[in-house]
């Protein structure tokens, strides 16, 4: 059964649970500091090994901006930098906590499952 917001041990207020991996990767990158599209793609590839496609990147940026989790900064030439907002940082922290809980349970069960 899927965990629901109201259930103990569920996702709580994890609003990123359905936002997609790209959104989480972008917020994680922006948590380090503001970046524009190309810098984001490079950073995400460095820390996660994931090569974000440019179309995927802009789709996720638009969604996150609409959700108020990132905001655009003054453009440098034609490059538009973004930064994480306090709402975005809180959502990312909540999401990482949720992943941590799942990760702990998964590791525990794998350990006891014997492999």
């Amino acid at each position: 059964m899927a965990l629901r917001k109201s259930e103990p041990g569920g996702f709580g207020h994890d609003v990123l649970r359905r936002a997609g991996d790209a959104s989480v990767l972008i917020l994680t990158s922006l948590a380090e500091g503001p970046k524009h599209g190309y810098a984001l793609i490079q950073d995400v590839r460095r820390f996660s090994g994931v090569q974000l496609g440019p179309g995927t990147l802009y789709g996720a940026l638009d969604r996150l901006e609409l959700l108020g989790m990132i905001e655009a900064l003054p453009a440098d030439a034609r490059r538009q930098p973004y930064r994480i907002t306090s709402a975005g940082a809180a959502a990312l922290a909540e999401h990482l906590d949720a992943l941590e809980r799942i990760s702990s349970v998964g590791r525990l069960r794998l350990g006891f499952g014997g492999a």
């Binding site: 190309y38 496609g53 440019p54």
Partner: protein
């Protein structure tokens, strides 16, 4: 598929996005593709990824249109809420209406004065700075800079989005702030540039409200574009696909126009791609 064909496919993919998306991200998306190509990312895979992104963006628009057309009251109400959330992006836990100060721009020519008046009347420590911008960005909020603490109740609650001057894309035409805002902030607003003055923010020269809007020069050859450009009495610089700077050197006439941006009130930079004319049979 030759590199030229892949470049054309990439341009085609970008054209599949809605105009509002192109106005906002189009310039950067093209530059990003060039940079990624230099990193070894295949143009074909980027074009495919952009095409998928364009399909999603168009799908979102279609869904919104369908919702608005239904007569079901509940659906209309839901769509209205969705529309409001699209127009005003408010982070979680928004304040009540009575706690929100709305700073709207109703006159593009008086944008800075209007915002300043609202901020002063609420004793907010928010400055307004005007920057020279291309015509389509005049009278819009370009950005906000926090100059002091900005978390929690001292942050912006939302941005009010409207059309840009000339009807292009989406521009920020107002801010929603908490009535007890006590931070420090600077709001950057676009103003009309003086003759020859360099723009603080570039804009796509083909977007509505800009010099080449509706000119149908996009995709045509340099040879075909030159007579039209001569009638505009502006300095035209050129940037060949893959180069980083604009120069006065006019590319060979068979290059195709793929984009361009305004540099100042009297000069533009047009981007071209070297492509073989179809009359020679093309490549590969």
């Amino acid at each position: 598929m030759s590199r030229n064909d892949q470049g054309r496919l990439l341009s085609l993919a970008l054209r599949c996005y809605p105009p509002t998306w192109r106005a906002r991200h189009g310039d950067e998306a093209r530059e990003l593709a060039v940079l990624l190509a230099q990193d070894g990312v295949p143009l074909r895979s980027m074009a495919w990824n952009y095409l998928k992104g364009a399909a999603r963006a168009q799908l979102v628009q279609t869904r919104t249109t369908r919702r608005l057309r239904t007569g079901v009251a509940a659906l209309v109400a839901a769509t209205s809420l969705a529309a409001v959330s699209l127009l005003v992006s408010i982070p979680p836990a928004p304040a009540g209406a009575a706690d929100v100060v709305r700073a709207d721009i109703t006159s593009r020519a008086e944008a800075a004065a209007e915002l300043t008046a609202v901020f002063k009347s609420h004793h907010f420590d928010i400055g307004v700075k005007q920057l020279p911008v291309p015509p389509s960005l005049v009278g819009s909020i370009l950005a906000t800079k926090t100059t002091g603490h900005s978390t929690g109740s001292n942050g912006i609650l939302g941005r009010i989005t409207g059309t840009c001057a000339g009807g292009a894309g989406a521009c920020t035409q107002g801010l929603l702030l908490p009535s007890h805002f006590s931070g420090q902030m600077l709001v950057l607003v676009g103003r009309a540039a003086k003759p020859g003055e360099k723009y603080a923010v570039p804009a796509d020269v083909f977007r509505p409200g800009e010099l080449l809007a509706g000119s149908s020069l996009l995709g045509r050859t340099v040879e075909a574009a030159l007579p039209v450009l001569e009638t505009l009495h502006v300095d035209v610089l050129w940037k060949v696909y893959g180069n980083k700077t604009c120069t006065t050197v006019v590319p060979d006439g068979w290059h195709h126009l793929t984009g361009g941006f305004a540099i100042s009130a009297g000069s533009i930079c047009l981007e071209v791609t070297p492509s073989v004319p179809s009359t020679t049979g093309g490549q590969g």
